[in-house]
């Protein structure tokens, strides 16, 4: 057994401390959070595994370079307040990142302990610190003297929230414009409650409001005002409008009743709370649900469908499990909950009845061929292998692209063929003077932390730009 009580343990534990979780049988019936979070004892045990490396590789793997050994050391010393302060020096949304960051491919992937055994559970520790702080009540930092400069932030996803917070801390007057009625972007409408409780997103937004940031929900740039008009009114603009436009496959039957884009399905469930009978928005249920895709979005859709009461939920993905872009942890969770994985399978047609309701999905088997541009082996259909899966609901989760609304009536903003905005990687500067951009609108669908990283860099660049003005 370990020595706890703050004393540094002599020998680091080999195995990482497991995360307490709701049992799969229970959680598949509710929308409560799956992972329950470390207890203090768990956190101390896990923190003690960190070697406090002189050249910590983990920090290099973190897109915003959180001082990982630094905060973990403070956890070991039971200075949780100090630990969270350290994290917040570089990461404004630790309660969110600690839950949804793909740590296994970022900080934890580079942790030296991972070379031989299991890396330090950095994400879980981050979450522990953030939750500890929330329980204590979050302190609002002093805001400096106003600089007199005004910045508009368009979009309230992780990119916009981070940029807004950083700019406010520098004394600029920030207004955030959001087209939906709630702030948070994908954090609010996309990622389900059981992975990221909406209360946490709400508290983060509240914190940023306390920094003096004004939020204007129900405000669409491109409709109420153009980007050009914003440029006239504000000293600088940050675009964090994300990549919210759903892609469809273009196969026959895709407009039958019961075929959803993942965005619609998840928006109905998360933002509009269709799972709660007290709320008016509905979502169609089915005994059989087929989800097409292999990313986090597909996992979230499948696990939501299961919780809504579907008997059988299958994920249909055209490559193998190795190639799936979803986080490992989420794939494991989905499996434990009983989601069926139909790999190397691709839908070719959706079948319906005379009332236009979906009845089944016709699929074809695939095999892996030569590597494509992404470096992954490309799927090739196996001729004559068609078969059908019964389904009353089909969710298409095959990616998104930037919403073009903001480009309406605006001049001089360069876009790529895919509809993403061209922006400098280090500063977020676009071809349009005074307009900076970051997050999914620049990269295409990516991650929360990369969007935050972009928001941070842009805030710094905007500050410099404003000083030159």
């Amino acid at each position: 057994m370990q020595e706890l009580n703050g004393e540094k343990t002599v020998k680091a534990k080999k195995e990482r401390t497991p995360m307490p979780e709701q049992p799969a049988e229970e959680r598949r019936k509710n929308f409560n959070e799956v992972a329950l979070g470390y207890t203090k004892e768990d956190a101390l045990a896990e923190a003690s595994r960190c070697l406090s490396c002189k050249e910590p590789k983990c920090v290099e793997g973190c897109p915003v370079n959180v001082d990982i050994p630094g905060f973990i050391k403070l956890v070991c010393e039971e200075d949780f307040a100090g630990a969270i302060e350290k994290i917040k020096g570089t990461n404004a949304l630790p309660a969110i990142c600690g839950r949804v960051c793909p740590q296994e491919t970022q900080c934890e992937a580079l942790c030296v302990l991972g070379k031989k055994g299991q890396p330090v559970a950095i994400g879980r520790l981050e979450r522990f610190c953030a939750d500890y702080e929330r329980q204590q009540g979050v302190k609002v930092p002093e805001v400096p003297e106003p600089t007199g400069k005004k910045v508009a932030v368009v979009g309230s996803g992780p990119a916009g929230l981070t940029a807004a917070a950083d700019l406010a801390k520098l004394g600029h007057k920030v207004t955030v414009f959001e087209s939906l009625h709630k702030a948070g972007g994908v954090l609010s409408y996309g990622i389900p409650e059981f992975r990221l409780p909406k209360e946490i997103v709400r508290q983060e937004v509240e914190y940023i409001e306390k920094l003096g940031v004004e939020f204007k929900p129900n405000y669409i740039i491109g409709r109420i005002k153009t980007l050009d008009e914003l440029c006239d009114e504000f000293d600088a603009v940050f675009m964090g409008t994300g990549a919210g436009l759903p892609n469809f496959m273009g196969i026959p039957g895709e407009n039958f009743n019961g075929v959803y884009s993942a965005n619609e399905f998840l928006t109905r469930v998360n933002l509009m709370k269709a799972y709660d009978p007290e709320y008016d928005t509905r979502v169609r249920l089915g005994r059989h649900v087929v989800v097409v895709g292999g990313g986090n979005v597909a996992m979230d859709s499948a696990r939501s469908a299961l919780r809504l009461g579907a008997e059988e939920v299958s994920i249909v993905y055209r490559r193998g499990e190795e190639e799936m872009p979803a986080r490992r942890e989420e794939i494991e969770h989905a499996k434990e909950e009983g989601i069926t994985f139909r790999l190397l399978t691709n839908p070719v047609r959706i079948l319906g009845d005379d009332k236009f309701n979906v009845t089944a999905v016709e699929c074809i088997k695939m095999k892996l061929g030569e590597p494509d541009k992404s470096g992954r082996r490309s799927p090739v259909p196996v001729e004559g292998s068609e078969f059908t899966i019964p389904a009353e609901v089909v969710v298409i989760a095959i990616g998104t692209s930037p919403n073009p609304m903001i480009f309406k009536g605006s001049e001089g903003l360069d876009q790529n063929k895919k509809g993403t905005v061209v922006a400098d990687e280090e500063t977020g500067a676009t071809s349009k003077c005074g307009v900076f951009a970051g997050g999914d609108v620049v990269t295409g669908a990516a991650t929360v932390i990369s969007a935050m990283g972009a928001g941070k860099k842009a805030a710094k660049a905007i500050d410099e730009y404003l000083k030159e003005q």
């Binding site: 407009n255 965005n263 619609e264």
Partner: protein, 281 residues
Amino acid sequence: MAYKVLNKEEIAPSVHRMVIDAPDVAKAAKAGQFIILRIDEKGERIPLTIADFDKEKGTVTVIFQEMGKTTKQLAKFSAGEFLEDVVGPLGTPSDVRKLGTVILVGGGVGVAPAYPQAKAYSKAGNKVISIIGARNKDLLILEDEMKDASSELYIATDDGSKGHHGFVTDIMKQILDSGEEVARVVIIGPPIMMKVGAGVAAPYDVEILVSLNSIMVDGTGMCGGCRVTVDGKTRFTCVDGPEFDARKVDFVQLMNRLAMYRGEETKAVEKYDEECRCGLH
């Protein structure tokens, strides 16, 4: 954020007009656009056409028919109360230009969206021939307003209680047959009326537009729930529309998609009526 209701009146049985304080929306609004509103935290987002707007006063007017739970709830509002959310203006504005003669056909509450268009087409220098209809004369809305906004106004009722005994499309056909040179026909109303109207006008050498009312969630192109097939391609009503070339619209698909939640909606209304009767709400 809350949006104040400044006025609400019943202008025909189960049809209500509501004036909402929403300066940002009013300032940007154009004919052919709509808003999405949410009554309260638990409410759904429902789209309603901007039937009128006043940029000076900062108000938008909607006209709605009681259909299901949300519109019934909305009907209970009175001046001074607040809506949780109003977002807009949404949708691509109508392409209003000087074309010559334009026929505007409005059926049922479809007259409400036809009204700002009548004003806009008139202002652009067109001869506007409006044809409005309803099941009977009591259900007819905006007669005076439409008269003021149009060069000519015709009325049709299904039961003959006012104007032509029959359908608005009968009058539309008569005008198209009369040799009057018509550049464009705009038909707004229940999907079945738009489908039939589009069919009647199709053989004539005239542009035909319809305003589609597919089921929506966000209204910004994000959910894809409002998709319709136009010219064999999938389009999103909320951003690509709501107006489309009637000859190319797949109306059968639209009507089937509108029926998607019928079962759940009936249940919601029954539950709501039940709760209202118990006097606790």
